[in-house]
């Protein structure tokens, strides 16, 4: 187990190295320097600024020093907002994004599993078809469209929820539904099909033959096993919720890291784009790692040390 985690960590570091390198050189290739704004700076000042940020050094030296500072968890200053570092942005924005993302993930898990299980228990009855329509709907409507529609209907027309902002729990309601809708649909589908498979297996028949009640069979025997595929989906779901948050946070005016990221793209604030990309990658890679390890713990059939060859 430890050996497996160790090897995965090594791969993670290689992947991160690739990401940092690609990000660094892409940003170098980006048109325009960090100080080429609307106003043309006098050449002396630009040279001074470049010297201050170490941009006058050869590219390779810059690259090595960037690698070093990333390894020390220092993403450098923002070039657009003087006096603010990328680390400041992350520490102010990430808690907000994390709250929103966690709420969305919990919502997606709870409702998704509930719908999936109901659909499987009432296979080919109206409940199943209702869930099927809901999930197709959820998969076909991108989160940002969902967000706009929810905002229009529930905030602007009905006035039930605040339009935008980040204050109390009521502000988190619509954004987290918008973020959760697509993952919820995927989870409902996954848990439905695995639940159907499990319900047809022999040990469920045995459990029924023992005279166990239907809730006991469903909860204790079926759902536990049916949830395994849902666990594997947690990694991609984290990525989906995270990228979804970029636009959702912008639409609902939430001061999270996703909104900062979108801002930095519009402003071409290259150090922030680089830093936040690397930060998001670390978060996502960690999520995938945790999910894979969890999967190995939950499902004893998976031998982690031999599970290196994917299908």
């Amino acid at each position: 187990m430890l050996k497996y985690i160790g090897r995965r960590l090594v791969y993670m570091i290689i992947t991160l190295f690739v990401i940092v390198t690609v990000t660094f050189f892409l940003m170098q290739a980006a048109p325009g320097g960090p100080f080429s704004g609307e106003k043309k700076l006098p050449p002396e000042i630009e040279a001074n600024l470049n010297a201050h940020y170490g941009l006058d050094k050869p590219l390779f030296v810059q690259y090595v020093s960037y690698l070093k500072s990333v390894a020390m968890w220092d993403f450098g200053p923002s070039f657009k907002y003087k006096g603010q570092s990328v680390n400041d942005l992350i520490s102010s924005g990430f808690p907000v994004s994390f709250t929103l993302g966690a709420e969305a993930i919990l919502l997606a898990l709870a409702l998704g599993v509930l719908f999936g299980v109901i659909a499987a228990l009432y296979h080919n009855k109206w409940q199943d078809y209702t869930v099927a329509i809901l999930t197709i709907f959820g998969i076909s409507v991108p989160s940002f469209i969902m967000a706009a529609v929810l905002q229009y209907v529930f905030s602007m027309k009905l006035g039930l929820f605040p339009v935008a902002g980040w204050d109390s729990w009521a502000y988190t309601f619509l954004p987290s539904i918008a973020l959760a809708s697509m993952p919820m649909a995927f989870i409902a589908r996954l848990s439905r099909s695995s639940m159907i498979e499990v319900l047809n297996s022999d040990y469920i028949r045995t459990a029924k033959a023992k005279g166990l009640s239907r809730p006991a069979v469903t909860v204790r025997h079926a759902i536990r096993n049916a949830l395994l595929p849902v666990v594997t989906y947690m990694g991609p779901m984290a990525a989906q919720v995270l990228t979804g948050s970029f636009i959702i946070e912008t639409i609902f005016g939430i001061p999270g890291l996703g909104a900062h990221f979108v801002n930095s793209i519009t402003n071409r604030d290259y150090t922030v784009i680089m830093g936040v990309t690397v930060f998001f990658s670390v978060i996502l890679l960690l999520c995938v790692l945790i999910v894979d390890v969890l999967y190995g713990i939950i499902d004893p059939r998976i031998k982690l040390s031999k599970a290196k060859k994917g299908a």
């Binding site: 296979h123 197709i136 995270l242």
Partner: protein, 305 residues
């Protein structure tokens, strides 16, 4: 018992071959899949939606009185009416025409991304799966590392750096998108290359390229087709997403994504500017999703419940 004269009996033609004859016409995998696909109502609805949208995208702009890029500020932000079925946008352009011109671009991006993924993925995956051993190990390690890179983040980075344009979007999506296809093709190739008919062909002296493209890839076509169909909605989604970040196709070109993101700030007063393009994004994604699901069910009888 009645007395029937012997000469009334006739010997039945005993033909040994008849017993072996198959009376029902044999169905190929594809015909069988077609039959099953056609009986899937939801998938058929999806297919009809896709065909209708493609037809409208081709013909609607040709027969419209309006041009997608001509502005008319006197006529800005008009609600849907007899003259402008979907209303007009902030520059007085007809949203109906723009929607169908946008359909061309959005669907083109989706299909082009899917085709490029197919080309790279099939070549990478089949070489990796067929050669096996060291080659496979190295190629799959590379794919694994790239797979772990959050793809949307990379697409955003590429779009920030590369010049704005239609092909930039397609290339950026392909750079991260082919890996999924490569993994699926590799899995199929690994499974298929040990089949007897491949061995038979090999024994007859077939070259590797013939084995791959005559025997293995056609049999993997089912999964490839399903993956392709499901790539299209993802690509349309990604394009819309990039447009929201201001990284979409440059004006005056219209894609559904740019139209929807232009309409978003005006949601309170001119909701139709968002709802028409956004609605078509959803309908098209729905169409491709159900067709993809239908194809998967039709091509893989084992999965049918």
């Amino acid at each position: 018992m009645q007395n029937i004269p012997k000469n009334m009996f006739e010997p039945a033609a005993a033909n040994a071959g008849d017993a072996e004859k198959i009376s029902k016409k044999s169905l190929s995998l594809w015909k069988d899949a077609m039959l099953r696909f056609r009986s899937n109502k939801l998938a058929m609805v999806g297919l009809i939606i896709i065909v209708l949208i493609i037809l409208m995208a081709i013909f609607a702009p040709m027969f419209s009185r309006y041009d997608y890029s001509t502005t008319n500020l006197l006529n800005a932000d008009k609600p849907p009416s007899k003259d402008h079925w979907f209303g007009t946008d902030d520059l007085g352009r007809d949203i109906f025409v723009r929607t169908w011109v946008g359909a061309r671009i959005s669907i083109f991006i989706g299909v082009a991304a899917a085709v490029l993924d197919l080309l790279i993925g099939v070549i990478w995956g089949s070489i990796s799966g067929f050669r096996g051993g060291r080659t496979d190990e190295i190629m799959m390690r590379i794919a694994d590392i790239l797979w772990a890179v959050p793809s949307l983040l990379m697409v955003i980075l590429l779009m920030v750096v590369l010049p704005k344009g239609l092909f930039t979007i397609i290339i950026a999506m392909t750079i991260t998108g082919w890996i999924n296809m490569a993994r699926i093709v590799r899995g199929q190739v690994l499974q298929l290359k040990n089949q007897e008919y491949v061995l038979a062909s090999q024994t007859l002296g077939a070259k590797t390229s013939r084995l791959l493209f005559k025997h293995i890839v056609p049999n993997a076509m089912g999964s490839i087709l399903v993956t392709m169909t499901l790539t299209v909605p993802t690509a349309i989604f990604t394009e819309a997403f990039l447009s929201y970040l201001g990284l979409g196709v440059p004006a005056p070109l219209a894609s559904w994504g740019t139209m929807a993101s232009d309409g978003l700030p005006a949601l309170t007063y001119y909701p139709w500017r968002l709802f028409f393009p956004a609605g078509f994004i959803c309908i098209t994604m729905f169409g491709f999703n159900v067709v993809g699901d239908g194809l998967r069910d039709a091509l893989d009888p084992k999965l049918r419940k």
